[in-house]
C-alpha cells in the first residue's frame, strides 16, 4: 500500500506537477483547466527529461538526493510564482456544453479505462522482450547515476565466411543507435525516488498514463481545433470512442504499452502535444505556446527517432499545404516567423545548439543512420504496403471514415477559406488532411518521399490522424442529417455506431491475451538473481531465448554489459543471417563438441541457464559441468574450468 502511494506521488512529482505549474504560469489565460491538466503530462515529461539529461553534464550525479533537491526546488519556485501571480484559467473547455455531453464524456472515458484495465490485468506482469531491453538501461542509469553510452560488447565469428563452423570471440564494442536517452530517464527517476523496482508494474503503468493522456490530447485538440464549429465537440467525443473504447488494444494502443514499445508511446504523445501547441501558437499568436511546441519537439528528438522522422514529414507537409492553400499566406508566414522572436526562444535555440553539438547528440544522428533512412527504399519491407494492408492496420472502418472525413472537410474548407472568422478552422482542416495524407503517402508510396524505413512501422502512425478525420466524419454526418425525421436520424446514428462497432469490438476481443506466464517469469527472475549474485567479474553468463520466459529481463540482475548474459537467439536467426556467430547456439545445443569447447573458452562462459526439459539433458556430463541450481523451469549449469 505504501509502495503504491509512493509510486503515485513520485509519478505525479515527475509527470504532472512540473508541467501543470509551468503551463498554469505561462498559458492559463489561454487554456481551460482541463486543457492545462491534460497538457501537464507531456510538458512535465519534457521538463523532467531535459533536467535529468542536463544534470550529469553539469556535474550532478543522478542520485535520489540530487534529483529530489533539484525537482523540489523547481516545484517550490513554480508554486511560489503561481501563488504570487494569482492565476486564473480560461473558461471551462466544456463551457456551453450540456450535462448530457459531460456525462457522455465520462461514460466513454470510464469505458476506456475499464477496457484497458481488463486488458492489462493479463499483461501487467513484466515479461515483454522489448521492455526488458529498455529497463536494462533505466536500471543502469539508477546504478551509475549518469547518462549511458548506448553500446554493447559484440561477438563475431573468427571466420565470417564459415560462420556456422567457426569459433567466435569478443571483438570489441559497438554503438546501439536504437536506444535513445529520453526513453529511459523517466523510469529511472521514478524508481530512484519511489524505490519501486523497474522489474515491476511501474514501467507499464507510466506508459499507460502516457497513453491515456495521448487520447485526451486528441480529445482536447479536436475540441480546440474546431471549437467554432457546432460539430467540433461532437467529433471530440467520437475520438474517445474510436481510439479509447474501440480498437483499444491493437495498433499503437494497449499492445504497445504491454509490449514495451516505449519510444512510440512517448513519441505519439510528444507529436500530439507539439501539434497542439503549434496550433495555439499559430492561431492565437502565442509565443509561449510556440515555445512549448518547440520544446516538445526537441525532447522528441532526444526520445524517439522514428517519431521525429514522421513528425518532420508531417510538419513539412503542413507548412507546404498552408503556403499553397491559405489565401493570406504572406500574412500567415509573417505571423509564424514572428513567433521565433522572443528572448526565451532565442536563448533556448542557443542552449540547444551548444548542448546538441558539444555535449550530447542523440545516438541515432549520424551520417550512416540518416542515409540509411532517407533515400529510395530498396528492401522489399520498405517499398510500401498495399492499400488494403494500410487500411487493416488503421482499422478498415476508421480508414474509410477518415477518407469520408477528408472529403467532408474539403467542402467545409471551401466555405471558411476566405472568411476571417473561419481562418482557424481552415488551418485545422489543412493540418488534419495534410497529416493523414502525408502518412498515407509515406506508407503507400515511400519512394516518392524518399522514405527508406520499414513501411509497417510507419503505418502505425496512421491511427491518430485517421481518428481525427473519422471522428470529424461521424460528427459532420450526424450534423448534416439533423433535418431528417427523428426516427431516421436515430436510425442513422445506430447504423454508424454498428459500422464501427462491428469491426472494433471483435478487434478488442481478438487482441485480449491469455493468462500471464507469471509463474514461469518469477522463476526466471529467481534464476537471474542467483546468477547475478555469484557471477565473477572474469566470467560471462549464457542463457537461452527460445524457451525461457522473460529471459531479456535477466540482464537487469547482472548489469555489467548489455550483452550479458549472452543469448542463444531464435533458431531462425542463425539461418537467416549466415555471417552471424554460431557459438551461442552451439554452446547450448551441442555443448560437448570441439567447437563449443573453443567457444566456451573464448567467451569465458561460466553459468549457463537453460530450460530444464528442453536443454537440460545436454549438460549431463558431470565431468564438464556442475549443476548448481534448478527450479521447475530453469536449470543453471556452471562450466568446470579446471
Amino acid at each position: 500500500m505504501i509502495d503504491f502511494i509512493l509510486l503515485i506521488l513520485v509519478s505525479a512529482f515527475f509527470l504532472v506537477v512540473p508541467g501543470f505549474l509551468t503551463v498554469t504560469l505561462l498559458l492559463a489565460r489561454r487554456l481551460s483547466f482541463l486543457e492545462v491538466a491534460v497538457a501537464s503530462v507531456p510538458v512535465s515529461f519534457v521538463i523532467t527529461t531535459t533536467i535529468l539529461l542536463v544534470m550529469p553534464y553539469a556535474g550532478l550525479t543522478l542520485t535520489a538526493l540530487n534529483v529530489s533537491i533539484i525537482f523540489g526546488f523547481l516545484t517550490l519556485t513554480l508554486l511560489t510564482l503561481c501563488w504570487r501571480k494569482r492565476v486564473t484559467f480560461a473558461a471551462d473547455l466544456f463551457y456551453g456544453m450540456s450535462r448530457f455531453y459531460r456525462i457522455l464524456f465520462f461514460v466513454l472515458f470510464l469505458a476506456m479505462i475499464i477496457a484497458k484495465t481488463f486488458y492489462f490485468i493479463n499483461t501487467i506482469f513484466p515479461t515483454a522482450t522489448d521492455l526488458g531491453h529498455h529497463m536494462y538501461w533505466s536500471q543502469w542509469i539508477i546504478q551509475e547515476g549518469r547518462i549511458p553510452l548506448y553500446e554493447k560488447t559484440i561477438v563475431d565469428p573468427l571466420d565470417p565466411e564459415q560462420a556456422a563452423t567457426s569459433p567466435a570471440a569478443f571483438v570489441g564494442v559497438e554503438r546501439i543507435p536504437d536506444f535513445i536517452i529520453g526513453e529511459h530517464l523517466i523510469f529511472s527517476a521514478v524508481s530512484l525516488l519511489s524505490g519501486v523496482s523497474v522489474v515491476s508494474s511501474m514501467p507499464s503503468l507510466l506508459l499507460y498514463l502516457v497513453q491515456i493522456v495521448t487520447i485526451l490530447l486528441v480529445f482536447v485538440s479536436l475540441f480546440r481545433f474546431f471549437k467554432r464549429e457546432s460539430w467540433g465537440p461532437h467529433a471530440a467525443l467520437w475520438s474517445i470512442f474510436l481510439l479509447g473504447v474501440l480498437w483499444s488494444f491493437s495498433g499503437a494502443q494497449a499492445k504497445f504499452v504491454s509490449g514495451g514499445v516505449v519510444g512510440n508511446i512517448f513519441g505519439n504523445m510528444l507529436i500530439l502535444s507539439s501539434i497542439y501547441f503549434f496550433f495555439i501558437a499559430l492561431t492565437e499568436q502565442s509565443k509561449r505556446a510556440f515555445f512549448f511546441g518547440l520544446w516538445s519537439n526537441v525532447v522528441l528528438v532526444y526520445t524517439h527517432h522514428l517519431s521525429t522522422f514522421i513528425f518532420a514529414y508531417v510538419l513539412l507537409a503542413f507548412i507546404l499545404s498552408l503556403l499553397i492553400f491559405v489565401p493570406a499566406r504572406m500574412h500567415l508566414l509573417r505571423r509564424a516567423l514572428a513567433l521565433f522572436w522572443a528572448p526565451y526562444t532565442l536563448l533556448f535555440f542557443i542552449g540547444l545548439g551548444l548542448f546538441f553539438f558539444f555535449v550530447h547528440i542523440p545516438s541515432y544522428i549520424n551520417p550512416e543512420a540518416i542515409s540509411s533512412s532517407v533515400g529510395t527504399p530498396t528492401k522489399s519491407t520498405r517499398t510500401g504496403l498495399p492499400l488494403a494492408q494500410l487500411m487493416e492496420m488503421a482499422a478498415n472502418a476508421r480508414y474509410l471514415l477518415a477518407i469520408a472525413g477528408m472529403l467532408a472537410l474539403m467542402s467545409v474548407a471551401k466555405k471558411v477559406r476566405t472568411s476571417a472568422q473561419g481562418q482557424n478552422t481552415f488551418i485545422a482542416i489543412v493540418l488534419c488532411i495534410s497529416w493523414f495524407a502525408v502518412i498515407t503517402l509515406m506508407v503507400l508510396y515511400p519512394q516518392y518521399l524518399q522514405v527508406n524505413i520499414l513501411s509497417t512501422r510507419v503505418a502505425t502512425y496512421i491511427a491518430y490522424p485517421a481518428v481525427f478525420l473519422s471522428s470529424i466524419a461521424l460528427a459532420l454526418l450526424l450534423l448534416r442529417a439533423r433535418t431528417l425525421p427523428r426516427y431516421l436520424y436515430i436510425g442513422l446514428g445506430m447504423v454508424l455506431f454498428f459500422f464501427v462497432a462491428v469491426e472494433g469490438i471483435p478487434n478488442n476481443i481478438a487482441s485480449l491475451r491469455d493468462a500471464p506466464a507469471a509463474e514461469e517469469a518469477v522463476q526466471t527472475f529467481h534464476t537471474a538473481r542467483y546468477i547475478g549474485a555469484h557471477l565473477p567479474q572474469d566470467q560471462w553468463a549464457l542463457k537461452d531465448h527460445n524457451y525461457i520466459t522473460a529471459d531479456t529481463w535477466m540482464k537487469i540482475f547482472m548489469p555489467r554489459d548489455y550483452s550479458n548474459p549472452l543469448s542463444r537467439a531464435f533458431f531462425a536467426r542463425y539461418e537467416s543471417q549466415p555471417r552471424r556467430e554460431n557459438c551461442t547456439r552451439e554452446m547450448i545445443t551441442n555443448p560437448h563438441t570441439e567447437l563449443a569447447k573453443v567457444c566456451f573458452d573464448n567467451l569465458s562462459i561460466g553459468p549457463i541457464a537453460v530450460d530444464t526439459k528442453e536443454d537440460g539433458v545436454s549438460f549431463s556430463d558431470q565431468a564438464k559441468f556442475t549443476k548448481v541450481y534448478e527450479n521447475n523451469e530453469v536449470s543453471v549449469f556452471w562450466r568446470k574450468t579446471k
Partner: protein
C-alpha cells in the same frame, strides 16, 4: 437561446452557472478513475510477482556455486509440500551414500548441510516426499 432537439449538446447560459461538472470536477474524477485503475493493476502485478501467491514451484541451489560447499538451499513455494526427501549419491549415481528429508515451510527456505556434498562428483536428488516424480538434481 432556444434549444432545438438537435442541439442537445448546447445549453443555456443560465444553466451553466448551476453546472456541477466543471473542468475541475471532471479532472478530479478522471484522476480518481486513473488511480483506481492503477491500484488494481499494481495489486494484480504484486500478486503475480509474489513467488508464493497462486504458484506451485520450488528450487534447490548450491549456496556457493563456485567454491566447494557443503550447503544446499531449498526454497519452497509449492501449494502442498513441506517435506522434501534427498539422496546423496556417489559420482554417476552408482550408489546412495545417504538419504534423508528436510522440512521446509511454504514460503520459506532451509539449508541442507552435509560434508558428503564436498566430494567432487557428488550428486544430490531432491523430491517432495509425496511426489517422487518431481525430481530436481544438483551435482558438483
Amino acid at each position: 437561446m432556444k434549444i432545438t432537439r438537435f442541439q442537445y449538446f448546447g445549453v443555456k447560459l443560465s444553466d451553466m452557472r448551476k453546472e456541477v461538472l466543471t473542468d475541475k470536477v471532471i479532472v478530479c474524477l478522471i484522476t480518481i478513475f486513473v488511480i483506481a485503475s492503477f491500484a488494481v493493476l499494481f495489486a494484480v502485478e504484486r500478486v503475480q510477482s509474489s513467488p508464493l501467491a497462486g504458484k506451485d514451484w520450488w528450487s534447490v541451489s548450491f549456496v556457493s556455486p563456485l567454491e566447494p560447499t557443503s550447503e544446499i538451499l531449498i526454497e519452497n513455494y509449492t501449494t502442498d509440500h513441506t517435506t522434501f526427501r534427498y539422496e546423496i549419491q556417489s559420482e554417476g549415481g552408482a550408489r546412495i551414500r545417504k538419504e534423508g528429508s528436510v522440512n521446509v515451510e511454504k514460503g520459506s527456505s532451509e539449508v541442507l548441510s552435509d560434508e558428503l556434498l564436498l566430494d567432487l562428483g557428488a550428486t544430490v536428488i531432491f523430491y517432495p516426499a509425496d511426489n517422487t516424480n518431481d525430481l530436481k538434481t544438483l551435482w558438483r
